[in-house]
C-alpha cells in the first residue's frame, strides 16, 4: 500500500519565535528525500514538528498522513500511524532496558486499532526475542545491547545504531532521520549508512536530514532539498547534493540572501541539557 506524508506551507514557532516559514514537501512510500541545510536553517525544527514535540507550535499550514491531519495528534498517535523519527540527540532512560522498551514500543504500535484502546497487551516474549535477535544480527549489533539501559552511557555511534534498531523493529511507513550522521566518525557513518540502506525496501519512505552530504553516499536520495530560513528553497535530484559538496553553503546563502536574513541567528539547534 502506498503511503504519503504531505507538508503544506508549514509554519512553526519555538518559544514564540517563528522558525519554519512555509515548508512544502511530499514524501511517498519508497522515496528517499534528503533535506540539507546549514545550522539554524530549521532542519531539526522540521523533524521535531513533524513528530509532534510539544514545544514546537504549528501556527499555520497543514501536515497530513494518508490524508489524515496530524497536527492535533500526540507523538504516540503519530508513531502508531507509521511515522518515525531517528533523533539527533536520543534521550537516555536509565534503568529501562533496550529490550523492555522495545517490547512496549513495538506492542503499542502493532496493537494499535486491534485491541482495547485502554490496554496495551504485550507481544509474547518468545516471539519478540526471536524478532529482536534476528534484527540485531542483521544490523550487526551485539545481543548484549538488548540488556543495556536505553541510551544510558552509550557512545555517539551506539546511540545512532540504537535509533536504527528501533527503526528496524517499529517498521514505520515514513521515517525521518535527523542528523543521524552528526557526531560520528567516518567509520561510524559508514556503519549507520549501510544499516539504514538495509532497511530501505520498496515500501519505506525516508527523509534524511543532514548538514553534510557524506551520509548520502550510503543512502542515495531520489530527491534533494535545500532548506534555508525555515523553508525549502531548492529541490532537485542527486546533482544538487553534488553541487553543495562542491560549493558549500555559501553559494546558496548568497543566492537566497533575503531568505537567509530571516534565519534567526540566535537560534541554533538547541542541545537538550542532559545530553
Amino acid at each position: 500500500m502506498q503511503h504519503q506524508l504531505t507538508i503544506n506551507n508549514l509554519h512553526a514557532d519555538v518559544n514564540g519565535e517563528e522558525i519554519l516559514t512555509g515548508v512544502d514537501l511530499t514524501i511517498r512510500s519508497g522515496e528517499i528525500h534528503a533535506m540539507m541545510g546549514p545550522n539554524g536553517s530549521g532542519k531539526s525544527t522540521l523533524a521535531n514538528t513533524l513528530m509532534g514535540h510539544p514545544s514546537y507550535k504549528v501556527t499555520s499550514g497543514a501536515v497530513t498522513f494518508d490524508g489524515q491531519d496530524l497536527i492535533e495528534l500526540e507523538a504516540d498517535e503519530r508513531a502508531k500511524m507509521g511515522l518515525f523519527l531517528a533523533f539527533q540527540y536520543p534521550m537516555a532512560i536509565p534503568g529501562v532496558t533496550m529490550a523492555n522498551f522495545l517490547r512496549l514500543a513495538v506492542s503499542s504500535v502493532r496493537n494499535n486499532g486491534t485491541s482495547d484502546s485502554t490496554t496495551t497487551s504485550l507481544i509474547p516474549m518468545r516471539e519478540f526475542r526471536q524478532e529482536l535477535r534476528q534484527k540485531m544480527k542483521k544490523l550487526g549489533i551485539d545481543e548484549a545491547f538488548a540488556r543495556r539501559y536505553l541510551n544510558d552511557g552509550f557512545s555517539g555511534g551506539e546511540k545512532k545504531r540504537a535509533e536504527i534498531l528501533q527503526l528496524a523493529m517499529l517498521e514505520p511507513k515514513i521515517a525521518i532521520l535527523d542528523e543521524t550522521d552528526s557526531g560520528l566518525d567516518i567509520d561510524a557513518v559508514r556503519i549507520v549508512g549501510e544499516s539504514v540502506n538495509q532497511l530501505i525496501g520498496s515500501d519505506l519512505g525516508v527523509l534524511v536530514i543532514t548538514h553534510y552530504p557524506r551520509l548520502l553516499s550510503y543512502i542515495k536520495p531520489d530527491h534533494v532539498h535545500i532548506i534555508l530560513g525555515g523553508r525549502v528553497v531548492e529541490s532537485g535530484g542527486w546533482e544538487l547534493a553534488e553541487q553543495l559538496e562542491a560549493e558549500g553553503y555559501d553559494a546558496i546563502r548568497e543566492k537566497y540572501k533575503e531568505v537567509d536574513l530571516d534565519t534567526k541567528e540566535q537560534y541554533t539547534n538547541t542541545v537538550p541539557a542532559n545530553v
Binding site: 514545544s55 532512560i93 529501562v96
Partner: protein
C-alpha cells in the same frame, strides 16, 4: 511488564477490601496498665515480660512528642485498639486456617506465593500469627522461624538474651509504645555456619478498624550464618486513622550475613512509624532493602550499628509519596569500629502533591579509623505540586575516614517523555516506564515475585497521573 489500565478505580489502592472477620478478643480503645495486664494475661506471658511492658508504657507516657519529622498532630492515642486477636491459636497447616481469612489471603495472592516459595510462611493476620508452616528442612538445620510470641514461650532463654538489646524501650517514643504492647512479628534464629538458601517470608496486614499493629521482629544470625528475610504487606482502606508501629531488631554475629527486605503498601490513612536496627559484629554484613508505598505518614530509617571491625552495612531505600502522603524515610549508619564500610542508596518519588523526605544519619565514632561510607540520594518529582526534601545528618568524631555524599533531584523531562512517546508509547506508560527505570537499582535486588509486585504497585500508583 504487562500494562493493564482497566483496573477498577478504588482510590488507587488495589487491596482495598476488608473481610467481615470477628476477632476472638478485642481490647477496648486506648492504652492503660489494665490493657497491658489483660494482654499479658491472654498471652500467658512470664512475669518479666509483663514488667517489661509496664516499664515501657511508663517510658512512652513520659517521653515528649516528637518535635521533628512528619505531622503527628492528628494521631490520637486514645482512639486506637492496642491488641486484637483474630483466631485463638496458632495454625500449623493451611487446612486449619478459617475460610474467610483464606479468602483474604487468596485475594492477596498468598497461596501462589506459598506454592512458589518452599520456605516457611509466617502470615500475620491482625496481631496474631494464624498460619505458620515451617519447612521440615528448617527444623533439620536448626533454624528457628516462628512468631515472636511463640518464641517467648518455646525458647525463653534465647529470647530473653537478645530481646530489647538492639532497640531498648527508651530508644524513642514509638519503640517504647511497641515494647509496651507488642504482639506478633517473626522470630528467627540461625545457628552458627548455617546458610538459609531461600528467603524466609512473612505476610501480614491490618484488618480491624483503628487497630494499632505493633509487631516485633527479632532476628539472630549466629557466627557465619546467612539469612534473607522478606516481608511484604498490604492493608485495607479505612476512613479513620490507624497506627502501625513495629520494632525490628537484628543481631549479626561475627562473619554472618543478613538481608531484610520490605515492601510496604499501606492504605492511605495509616501512620507507619517503625524502628529498625541491626547490630553488625566483626566481619558481618547487614543489608536493608526497604520499599515504602502508601500510608499517610511513614517515618522509617533502618539503621546499622557497625560494632565490630570490618563490619559492612548497606541500606537501599525507596519511597513513593502520592496525594496526601508523606514519606519520611532514609537510613542510619553508625560506625563504631575501625575499617567498617557502609552504603546508603535512597530513591524517592513524589507525585500529586505527595512529599518525600530523605532523612539520614552518618555517624563515625571516635576510634573507628579508616571507615568508608557512601551516601547517594536521588529524588524524582513528577509534578509541580509535589515536594522532596533532604536532611542528611553527618557526625564524624574521627579523622581518618572516607565519606562520599551525593544528592540529586530530577523531574521527568519533557524530552524523555517525547522520546518514548515518539515510539508509540502512551504518555502514561512512558511516565511509568521512566519511574520504574528510576527505581530499577532497588527492584533488581528483590526476589523475582516481589520485583514484579513492585513494578505493578508503581504502575497502579501512576494510573491516572496524566491528563
Amino acid at each position: 511488564m504487562a500494562i493493564n489500565k482497566a483496573q477498577p478505580d478504588i482510590g488507587n489502592y488495589k487491596y482495598g477490601f476488608s473481610d467481615d472477620i470477628k476477632p476472638v478478643y478485642k481490647s477496648q480503645k486506648g492504652l492503660s496498665e489494665k490493657v497491658i495486664h489483660q494482654l499479658s494475661d491472654i498471652k500467658n506471658e512470664p512475669d518479666w515480660m509483663r514488667q517489661y511492658r509496664l516499664e515501657a508504657y511508663q517510658i512512652f507516657k513520659d517521653k515528649p512528642d516528637l518535635d521533628w519529622g512528619g505531622d503527628l498532630s492528628q494521631l490520637d492515642y486514645d482512639d486506637i485498639y492496642y491488641y486484637v486477636k483474630a483466631s485463638d491459636r496458632e495454625e500449623r497447616s493451611w487446612d486449619d486456617v478459617p475460610d474467610d481469612i483464606k479468602n483474604t489471603f487468596d485475594r492477596l495472592g498468598i497461596p501462589e506465593a506459598e506454592q512458589k516459595f518452599l520456605s516457611g510462611v509466617g502470615a500475620q493476620y491482625d496481631s496474631e500469627v494464624v498460619y505458620h508452616s515451617i519447612e521440615e528442612e528448617l527444623d533439620k538445620i536448626g533454624v528457628i522461624f516462628m512468631s515472636t510470641d511463640q518464641a517467648l514461650q518455646e525458647h525463653p532463654d534465647l529470647f530473653r538474651e537478645y530481646f530489647g538489646t538492639v532497640i531498648p524501650s527508651a530508644d524513642n517514643k514509638f519503640a517504647a509504645l511497641n515494647s509496651a504492647v507488642w504482639s506478633g512479628g517473626s522470630f528467627i534464629y540461625v545457628p552458627p555456619g548455617v546458610k538459609v538458601s531461600y528467603p524466609l517470608q512473612a505476610y501480614f496486614r491490618i484488618n480491624t478498624e483503628n487497630m494499632g499493629q505493633f509487631e516485633r521482629t527479632l532476628i539472630i544470625a549466629d557466627e557465619g550464618a546467612e539469612v534473607h528475610y522478606v516481608e511484604g504487606c498490604t492493608a485495607p482502606i479505612y476512613t479513620s486513622e490507624s497506627l502501625h508501629s513495629a520494632v525490628v531488631e537484628i543481631i549479626c554475629k561475627p562473619k554472618s550475613r543478613v538481608r531484610y527486605t520490605t515492601i510496604q503498601n499501606w492504605a492511605n490513612n495509616i501512620y507507619n512509624l517503625v524502628t529498625k536496627r541491626a547490630m553488625a559484629h566483626e566481619d558481618a554484613t547487614m543489608e536493608w532493602v526497604d520499599g515504602n508505598l502508601g500510608s499517610k505518614l511513614t517515618m522509617k530509617y533502618p539503621s546499622v550499628y557497625m560494632v565490630g571491625e570490618r563490619a559492612h552495612g548497606e541500606i537501599l531505600s525507596i519511597a513513593f509519596a502520592s496525594q496526601g502522603q508523606h514519606q519520611d524515610a532514609g537510613g542510619k549508619v553508625v560506625h563504631l569500629a575501625p575499617n567498617t564500610t557502609s552504603k546508603i542508596t535512597s530513591k524517592s518519588i513524589s507525585k500529586d502533591g505527595g512529599r518525600a523526605t530523605y532523612r539520614g544519619l552518618l555517624k563515625v565514632g571516635s576510634g573507628a579509623a579508616n571507615c568508608k561510607s557512601n551516601v547517594v540520594c536521588d529524588a524524582l518529582i513528577l509534578d509541580p505540586e509535589s515536594q522532596s526534601d533532604t536532611y542528611p545528618y553527618i557526625e564524624i568524631d574521627e579523622q581518618d575516614v572516607t565519606i562520599e555524599h551525593e544528592a540529586r533531584v530530577s523531574k521527568i523531562g519533557e524530552e524523555q517523555l517525547f522520546y518514548l512517546m515518539s515510539r508509540g508509547i502512551s504518555e502514561e506508560d512512558a511516565s511509568t516506564m521512566i519511574v520504574n527505570g528510576f527505581i530499577e537499582p532497588l527492584v533488581k535486588e528483590l526476589p523475582m515475585e516481589y520485583a514484579v509486585e513492585m513494578n505493578r504497585l508503581i504502575q497502579l500508583q501512576m494510573e491516572g497521573s496524566v491528563g
